[in-house]
């Protein structure tokens, strides 16, 4: 049986992790490679590296990161953040990334999803969608959530699938950072609508939230950042809890 996945996400700027991470046994908490390896040892199923650098050096640092991570990690990882073209993706996959995620660029130019899946196969194309509930309708937002669009969430998610996305990484901006749980109803609705896997993001605060997101929320994977970074929940402990609650997870790594 296919296990539900737990995915820690690391924000990267200029090749360094952004959020303060407090792990005692890390030589360098700012080193994404070392942090990635630690998560992998704790039982993470995949790792997402999200680059938020906004300089023209970006592509170079991102490629270097992909290569370093690929050399060290024996589990899959995704790289995202500002990816705009087939060339960007080719460089990252060649460097050793397993998947890439696209967000704003896909909304601005939806045909990009088709080009990417045709060139590299949909299995490595994750489309990330940030959305927010505005007067009863979920709208897609761009640029890390700063820019609103008039595109409705489910319409866009469906279009992503039709254009060749391999997975959807859906972040509810309303839940992100609240630690009050994931957007369960919306996730379940998306899961029923789509035939590709959905990674849930935004709102994880305690172990129960993960159980809910895999049952009520029908998600295939759950992503979180700060609760893992600040050791509020350990990945191994979380997986033990989920296994007890009969959620199928990989408990040995």
């Amino acid at each position: 049986m296919l296990a539900k996945r737990i995915i820690p996400c690391l924000d990267i700027k200029d090749g360094r992790t952004v959020k303060g991470v407090n792990f005692v046994n890390l030589r360098d908490a700012g080193d994404p490679v070392e942090l990635g390896r630690l998560y992998s040892e704790q039982g993470a199923d995949e790792i997402v590296f999200l680059d938020i650098t906004a300089t023209h050096e970006k592509r170079k640092t991102l490629t270097t990161l992909a290569r370093k991570v690929a050399a060290e990690l024996n589990i899959p990882f995704t790289i995202g953040g500002g990816i705009k073209s087939v060339d960007d993706v080719a460089v990252l996959l060649t460097a050793g990334a397993d998947k890439i995620s696209v967000n704003s660029a896909a909304v601005r130019e939806p045909v990009l999803i088709e080009s990417l899946s045709k060139n590299f196969g949909s299995q490595c194309i994750v489309v990330a969608i940030d959305a927010k509930l505005v007067e009863g309708t979920w709208y897609v937002h761009l640029n890390g959530g700063r820019k609103a669009t008039d595109i409705e969430l489910m319409t866009w998610a469906k279009e992503c699938q039709e254009r060749g996305a391999g997975e959807i990484l859906f972040t509810s901006m309303d839940h992100d950072g609240t630690k009050n749980g994931f957007a369960l109803e919306t996730l379940a609705e998306m899961s029923d609508l789509l035939s590709i896997p959905i990674i849930a993001s935004g709102g994880a605060g305690k172990k129960e939230h993960f159980q809910e997101v895999f049952t009520k929320g029908k998600a295939d994977a759950a992503l979180a950042a700060s609760i893992f970074h600040f050791k509020e929940i350990g990945i191994r402990e979380l997986k033990g809890y989920l296994a007890e609650k009969n959620v199928l997870v990989r408990t040995k790594n």
Partner: protein
């Protein structure tokens, strides 16, 4: 002991090389026929689309080269599928070492997503290059097409239906999952192949 990783336009070539380096194995990436033939072991990786990859392999003469290799050969993911007879992906004939077919996953109910992405357990491992102590262990899969169960199937996995997770015929070995991305279990499997 040298392992040649066949270098072509496949997604996971670099990851396989890194994985072997982590095991301190001597490995090279190459598409040079002489170097491939001279290697002690050959790994045929693969991530991508079947028919276009077959076109490429044919144009480079790599399909015949692979078919005639005598040393242990390990096909991974698309590499495994291309060792088979025929694939429904782009309706292409493949290298034809293993007389089994490659079919598309058709979901039978709503919660069955395609591609099959993530960690799934090896259900049944018969005597072969992968120890049967690895039964029930989780390994990493990413694929939309699968190899039907047949005479060369020595390991199975269950997703939508039973399918071939591990194949073996003569000197050809293959895994549908990615040992290079399957944590410590994957490392054990790669080591097992290198020790053949």
């Amino acid at each position: 002991m040298k392992t040649a990783i066949i270098d072509y336009n496949a997604g996971n070539v670099q990851s396989v090389l890194f994985a072997l380096k982590r095991l301190n194995a001597e490995a090279i990436l190459t598409n040079d026929p002489a170097a491939i033939r001279a290697a002690d072991k050959v790994i045929f990786p693969g991530v991508g689309e079947a028919s276009s990859t077959m076109d490429y392999l044919r144009s480079e003469g790599l399909d015949q080269l692979i078919k005639n290799l005598k040393q242990p050969v390990l096909g991974i993911c698309l590499g495994m599928q291309l060792l088979c007879e025929h694939s429904e992906e782009g309706d292409t004939s493949c290298i034809g070492v293993i007389p089994q077919g490659v079919r598309k996953f058709i979901p039978q109910q709503k919660d069955q997503k395609v591609p099959h992405v993530g960690w799934n357990s090896l259900d049944k491992i018969e005597q072969g290059f992968i120890s049967n102590t690895l039964e029930k262990e989780y390994v990493y899969f990413v694929h939309s097409y699968y190899v039907e169960i047949g005479d060369c199937t020595i390991g199975t996995c269950d997703y939508i239906q039973n399918f071939s997770a591990v194949l073996q015929k003569d000197n050809f070995y293959a895994t549908q999952f990615h040992p290079e991305k399957s944590g410590k279990i994957g490392e054990q499997i790669l080591k097992g192949f290198l020790q053949l």
